[in-house]
Structures are given as C-alpha cells and as structure tokens.
Symmetry: C2
Subunit: 459 residues, 2 copies
Amino acid sequence: MSTPTKFVLDESQIPRNWYNIMADLPVPLAPPLHPGTLKPLGPDDLAPLFPMELIMQEVSAEREVPIPEPVREVFRLWRPAPLYRAHRLEKALGTPAKIYYKYEGVSPAGSHKPNTAVPQAWYNAQAGIKKLTTETGAGQWGSSLAFAGALFGIDVTVYQVRVSYDQKPYRRALMETYGAKCLPSPSNTTNCGRAILEKNPNHPGSLGIAISEAVEVAATHDDTKYSLGSVLNHVLMHQTIIGQEAMKQLEMAGDDPDVVVGCTGGGSNFAGIAFPFVGQQLRGKGKTKQRRIVAVEPAACPSLTRGKFAYDFGDTSHLTPLVKMHTLGSTFTPPGFHAGGLRYHGMAPLVSHLHALKLIEATSYHQNECFEAGVLFARAEGIVPAPEANHAVKGAIAEAMRCKREGKSEVILFNLCGHGHFDMSAYSAYASGKLVDQHYDEKELAMALAGLPSVPEPA
Amino acid sequence: MSTPTKFVLDESQIPRNWYNIMADLPVPLAPPLHPGTLKPLGPDDLAPLFPMELIMQEVSAEREVPIPEPVREVFRLWRPAPLYRAHRLEKALGTPAKIYYKYEGVSPAGSHKPNTAVPQAWYNAQAGIKKLTTETGAGQWGSSLAFAGALFGIDVTVYQVRVSYDQKPYRRALMETYGAKCLPSPSNTTNCGRAILEKNPNHPGSLGIAISEAVEVAATHDDTKYSLGSVLNHVLMHQTIIGQEAMKQLEMAGDDPDVVVGCTGGGSNFAGIAFPFVGQQLRGKGKTKQRRIVAVEPAACPSLTRGKFAYDFGDTSHLTPLVKMHTLGSTFTPPGFHAGGLRYHGMAPLVSHLHALKLIEATSYHQNECFEAGVLFARAEGIVPAPEANHAVKGAIAEAMRCKREGKSEVILFNLCGHGHFDMSAYSAYASGKLVDQHYDEKELAMALAGLPSVPEPA
C-alpha cells in the first residue's frame, strides 16, 4: 500500500462557508406553495416553524453562506471528518477501481446529521427559542438534535417512528442521555397522532406522520419551533461541508472521482457529498471532468426511481407547505425495513430537481443485498456501516465490480454517512437469515399517487 | 476558545516501537510460576497457548520493541487517535484545571482493545495459527479480536461472561458481523464450564471463568492458540502507543500533565496511557516533572484498593500460571455491574508492581457516580463514554473539582478508552433511576483471599 489509508485535515480547515447550489442551477427550483392558497410561500408563512435566519437560508441565492464561528467551534469536536482510501475493500473485491469513502460516523451522534443539527439549534438559540420539536426515523436525526440541544440549552422533544422506537431502544437511550424527550409516533399527544391511532391503534408510524406531530406541536405553541433533519434547502446546504472537505482530501490524494455515490432517504447526506461536485460541473460548463453522480435508495421506498415528480405535502396530515419533489404520495406508508432513515415518501426538492435535469442518476437495492455489502465492508475496513449507509456501500461496490468487468480503474467516492452501532439487531437478523426483503404494496402506491394534490403549474 | 479542541497527528506519526517499561523498573517484576512445580516459568511452558514471538515479548527487557509494518498498516484505519482539550467540560465544571482526554473510541470496535488484538492476531497468523480462543466481559475485547481475526483469516471463538452476554446483545452481534463465534460462559463446551454449571446452572459467569474455558480449549487443541486482552506484560506493552501519541499531542498543545488518570480492570488501557509517563519519570530520576498517576477502579471489584498483593491464578479453574498481582482471589465472583470490562479478580502484575513501588495511586467509585459523570461529559463533549471509561471520567472530574477548591490550574490527562454505544441499556437504567450501586459480599471476599495459593517467596 504505497498511498495513505486516510486523509486527515486540521480543524483550521473546516469549511468557512456552506455551498448553496441554488446559485448555480441552470433552471430555478419550483417554489413551495401555501397549502391553502396554492400561492408561492413567503418567508412569513414559515415564521411559526423556523427562526428567520434559517428561512432566509432556505430561499437564499448566494453561492456561499458563512458558517457562524460558534458553529465551527462545535464542529471541531469531530470535523474535519476523515476521507479513507478503501485499500482492503478493493483487495477483497479484486477491482482495479480506486474506492474512497468519506466517513461521517465520527460525529458524537454517529452520522452526518449533527452537521445541520448544530447550526439549526444555534440559530434557534440566537432567536431566543428554548424548545424544539422534531421527528426521527432510525433515531440518527433525533439523537443529533438532542446533542445539539444539550450544547445550547434547548429542550428537544423527538417524535420517533414507532417501528424504529421499538426496534432501536439504544437510540432512544442516546437521546435521553443528551437530555431530550422521545415519544413513539403516532402518539396520543397530538391531534394528528390521535386521529391515526383511532383508525389503527397498531400503526407502525412513518416519517410523514412523525413530521405532522412535531409540526403540529410547534405550530400551536408560541415558545416552540420545529426542526427538520433533511429535505429542505437549508438542511441540504448545511451538509455541503462533507463534499467540500472530500474535495480537499481527494486533492491531497491526487485523485478526482469519476463516480460519486450516496444513499438517499430525504436526500441530505447525498446532497452533502454530491452538490459541491455537481456545482463544480455546472460552473465549469463542460470544461471540467464529467462525473456520474449516483443516488442509491431502498427498493422498498423508491421515491426517485418509482415516485412521481409532482407537488406534494411533506407530511401525512397535510400541515406542511406543498413542495415539488419525487414522491410516493404523502399517504404512502413504507414497509418497516431496517434503514429507518430512508423510510420517507418524498425526496428533497433540490435532489428531485437535479434528477429531472439529468444531472444525477438513481438506483435502488433491497435490504439483504445491502447488508451483504455492509458485512463485506466491515470485515475489510473494520467500520460497521449503518443500514442506511449500506445502500451507499452496495452502490459503490456495484460500481467497483462494473470497473472490474470493464477493466477500468475509475475513481469511486462514496459517503459512509454513519455507523451501525445502534442498529446491530438488524445485523443479527441478517446473520441468522431472518432478514426479509420487504416490498411495498403496489395498490397502496397507486392509491397514494392517485391522491396527490392537484396543483396548477405555477407561472 | 483560543487553543484548539483536538490535536491530530498524521498516520506517519503512528509510533514505530512499543515502550517496554520492564527496561526501566527500579525493582524487577516477580516471575510467573508454574502452577504445578511453583518454579519460575520458562518460555516453553507458555508455548501451548501463545506463539513464540508473543512469549518473547512477555519476557523482553528491551526498552523499545519494533511494531511490525503490517500491524502499523492496520493501525492506519483509526490511528493516531485524537487528543482533545475538554473546553466544554471545563466550562461546565467551572474549574481552573485544563482537562485533556485521549479518545480511543475511534477504533472500529470502539475501544483501545484493537491496539493489542491486531498485533496478537498478526503474530499468530505469522506462526500459521488458524484458530484463536479468548474470553470477553462487556465484549470490547471479544469484538476487537473478532475484527483482527477477520483481517488475518483467523477463526475466533469468544467465551463471553454470561451476565454481559445477556445484557449486551449488540456486542455479540458485532462479533458475529466480524465473523467470530460467541458463546455464553460458563458453557457446556468445556470441562471447566460444565463443572461450574453443575454446581450452579444460573451462574452469571466471570472473566476468571471465561479465561478458564478459553485456555482449556486452546490447551487441548493443537491447532488453536489463546489470546488475552489484558493483564499480561506484552498486552500492556501493545497499549503504550496511547501514551506515546498523547505525549506528542500534549507537546503540540504546549502542556505537560500534572495528573494522568485511567480506569483499571485488568490494567491495559491504564498502562497504555500511564506507562510512557511513568517511564519518563523513572529515567529522569527526579529531574523530570513529578506527576501523579491515578488508577480508578469500580468499588464493587476493587483489586488495587482492597485486594492483596500476592501470587494467584489468573483464572477460576486454575489452569493458568501463578502471577504476583493485586487480587481479590481467583474464586471471587464480582457483582454484575455494567462495566463488564472491569469485572476481574486480579490486576496486571506490572500495574500491581508499580502500585507496590508507590509509583501510582489507586481510588475507586460506585457505578451511579460514574454514570453521573458520564452523562455530564456526554452533554458537554458529545461523546457517550463506555461504562468502564466513566470511571476515568469520574476520576478526572474529581481531580478537576479538587483544582477548583484549591484554586490550581493543573493539567489533567485521562484516557477515554471507549464509547458506550453498545452499553446504552446501562444508560437507560441510570436515567430511569433503576441503576443500583452493587457491593461485593465481604464474607465471599474474605474466603477468596483466605483461599489464595500458598507460595514460598521465590529466591
């Protein structure tokens, strides 16, 4: 092994700005619409939910948005995150490809989510907010906001999708260790939750429902704001420090990726690794290296590969604005597979938009083939990936095997967005052959898509 | 915060040698004795259990022992480990002390244990060994050897103390993900295990029993060797890369510790952080800074603070050599508290020896006060420590609070030997007020001490 295993930056090299891809889009993003009037939303419409600084970031057209120093100060606890050359994985695969992975599991909560939890908590604290509500699937986002809340004296209440709440008690314990309160969703603490439980007391929950509950609480309490862990423009922008760091680190390695791979649920870790590279291509106007950017999603919740690109609600109870995105329909309940962070009916508007513009590709895999990839990765590289991250691992391995067949030594970069320490029951199930590939109900999908709101194309 | 948060070294700065404190001891260590003849052990006596390279390290008098390049190559997956300045913890405590911690939880298995698992597996692989047995308490050692076994094609069988096997299923899943086999101990796969189960079918197990089982299997199978995660001289030596890196990193910080703190079970992580500093003092002969070196142990298993410094067996069924160490008696079964990695009746001979020479101090705490310290640490610094590491956190906080009372700005260094991601059930129990401080049975301790083997002082 002549080249290094990992590429480490010093904390002075934590990026000073977030990269805002809105500035470089060849076609502007469709605006979010007010759910009542169907008119484009103004900043004031979002004021009950978010502090004004974050609302302004949501609509900003500036290419670079400065990261506040107190936020960079917190990032020093784990950033810059390491970039690895996967020497041992390459050897295990016998591929001529070079595989690099950016590892975001070094954060205190174990995933990329604190990259946005910390600035969100900080901007809320600056605005005098003392309470935040949010939703979480597997718990990676909930534990990240709990951590950020502890740093800035904010009380955090997390609505966790019930199937994950039951599957992953250690994540709940982590949220509680950071001082947050965690409730299974649907719960009887909100109107939305009660309405759903009335129809089905054993409802497994979904991210769409948990969002409804958290939004309802924030919208009906003056002292409480809401925080979202993915999907929104400002959330994706906060994650672009991943790709910015990876670019510097690949420069140290003397390489430039041919393929960039990330897993996609709401789209934030994918955006984090991908957008800085997409932006470089957009600004280069064909003069820079043309790369393939591949989004990998679960076959049981395939918003990019099987959903419709249309206006839809972000939540199940229709409390949120309408956004144009790839969606399976807001009433679609994804099967209870283990990558709880990817169980969302929609895809971030920005990621959906890039897909429509053919700037990115999408593919999907079932969970057993993803866990097979994850176990192979763990035995070669040591790190046990989160079930969500296993989709990216699988995507990267598929590219590496293509390179092997084609005899190409392409450079593959993927985002290992988190570790699987809190998801080991899923690995147990896989090891004992009890993990089942889950399939959504085609009829339910058809019905959910038929129920999409009817929205006239905006001018 | 004018000074950095973390001090990061480049992978070229991974130490090239282990530090062997045997070379600097003012009084030599009492030799291990053959359990039958009570004569000092020769290298051949250990040959059924260990490859010759490790046996030679066990008795080496060389100050520096070179780390093989293939082992350093694996270390690059996570080393050098970061050193942190605990700015936020200092602020939370309001102490004038400066607190630094070396974080070993960045390893794939989440603790310092891979530092010795990797060289042990490598030396065995070099000697053509294809199977290893070992014991584990909480599972940190077992998962580390499982990881190392995966890298070098060695089949690993782990006997896990039953109470931990039941408490920490995620650790077992981690071992299995790396391809190892994990059995609860006492088990019915060995004579030792069967004998103990016959007397008590619900025996909670202990590290002493699990060692007996693993040693029995290795001793009775020609193709199998045994691997120990702590206690032995060579194991402690492998951990000295922790203290060596910390020294370099403190130089970068422009500081020199007044107090060095580590938790102690078998003694390996403590030795890792402490021995390079002790050695510096020994070689300096009073001309270097005099530091306090503090070992922190669980009050429910207090070998250094309540045990006897005497010859004893390393295991419960008396298959191992006799070593002179602080011991609670090889038949003592520690209560089932959560820091499973510290539930051992004995203390490493080298650590015991330094204690007898008054080169180190020892103190003990109960588990609730340690978890209180761990939660405070997690909310300030983000990282959730392992229950074992909480003892070091508690010890460091106690020193910082003493500095506050005395108005001293001493420099405190402690080893955060691992994260608690696989121990969150213990944090749940603590949060819900269900964690009970456990106490050993005074009568059982007295009996176990009365049963120590009678050994004439060697010439």
